[in-house]
């Protein structure tokens, strides 16, 4: 349900002019909700930034998520984290 919550909050932010990018571990849920921009990561629920105490991987995931801000409208946009 975390994924629905994140998508719905993202929608309220976007309505106020704040561009959002989200991480998702459940592509099916994110697509159903219509989350505006989401990076699909191949990690289990509970591990959106990949691995604990792995700053290098966590930073790569954040950079990939922020890169979705460069995609043209319209959303929703879901892309895979490819490492």
């Amino acid at each position: 349900m975390c994924h629905q919550t994140v998508g719905l909050v993202a929608g309220e932010l976007e309505k106020r002019g704040i561009a959002t990018t989200s991480i998702t571990m459940l592509r099916e849920v994110t697509e159903k909700v219509g989350t505006p921009r989401a990076l699909f990561v191949p990690f289990p629920l509970g591990y959106p930034l990949g691995r604990p105490n792995d700053p290098e991987l966590q930073t790569r995931i954040l950079r990939a998520a922020f890169s979705l801000l460069e995609r043209p409208a319209p959303g929703p946009i879901v892309e895979d984290f490819t490492g």
């Binding site: 975390c2 976007e14 106020r16 704040i18 959002t20 991480i23 219509g34 990690f43 959106p48 409208a73």
Partner: protein, 160 residues
């Protein structure tokens, strides 16, 4: 990789029948400025809170739709996790809060100039909300209003 089929039988049965709320139309704000000059806020559904804040409640029917403001200067390791969901493994998150609330990573990116600045506050929800009526009508708009008033340009959202 996670799919719905990884969930416990109880959660699978619930989610198979669940009708997700859909953003329709999908709101889509074009970023106002490049990330290197943007003000960024973090929004997590990992139910983190300060020790002195009221924890999220797990006994509210339909889920606790409240949120906590997390000050921008918080020491990440001090954050407590109130999440009661049995749908995911919390081991990693309890070991390293940055796994779901990556504020230290964002600080490093801001320090290198990849991000313009971080907002003075961030937002924490508890994601396990099955009845999102009041999330949609009250708390998600309230949280978005706070960040908009702060002049936030970009938000990054992490589910757990």
């Amino acid at each position: 990789m996670a799919t719905l089929s990884d969930l416990s039988l109880k959660n699978r049965i619930f989610m198979a029948a669940y009708r997700y709320r859909r953003l329709d139309p999908v709101p889509f704000a074009v970023p106002r400025r490049p990330l290197s000059s943007a003000r960024v806020a973090l929004v997590s559904s990992g139910a983190v809170h300060l020790p002195e804040q009221t924890p999220f409640a797990s006994d509210i029917k339909g889920g606790d739709f409240s949120f906590r403001e997390i000050p921008g200067d918080v020491e990440v390791a001090r954050l407590l996790v109130a999440h009661k969901s049995d749908a995911f493994d919390q081991t990693g998150f309890l070991e390293d809060r940055n796994l779901g609330f990556p504020l230290d990573r964002l600080r490093e990116m801001a320090g290198r100039g990849e991000i313009g600045s971080l907002n003075t506050r961030h937002v924490s929800f508890m994601g396990s909300i099955t009845a999102p009526g009041r999330l949609l009508s009250e708390t998600a708009p309230a949280a978005a209003n706070l960040l908009a008033a702060d002049g936030v340009d970009v938000a990054i959202l992490t589910p757990l």
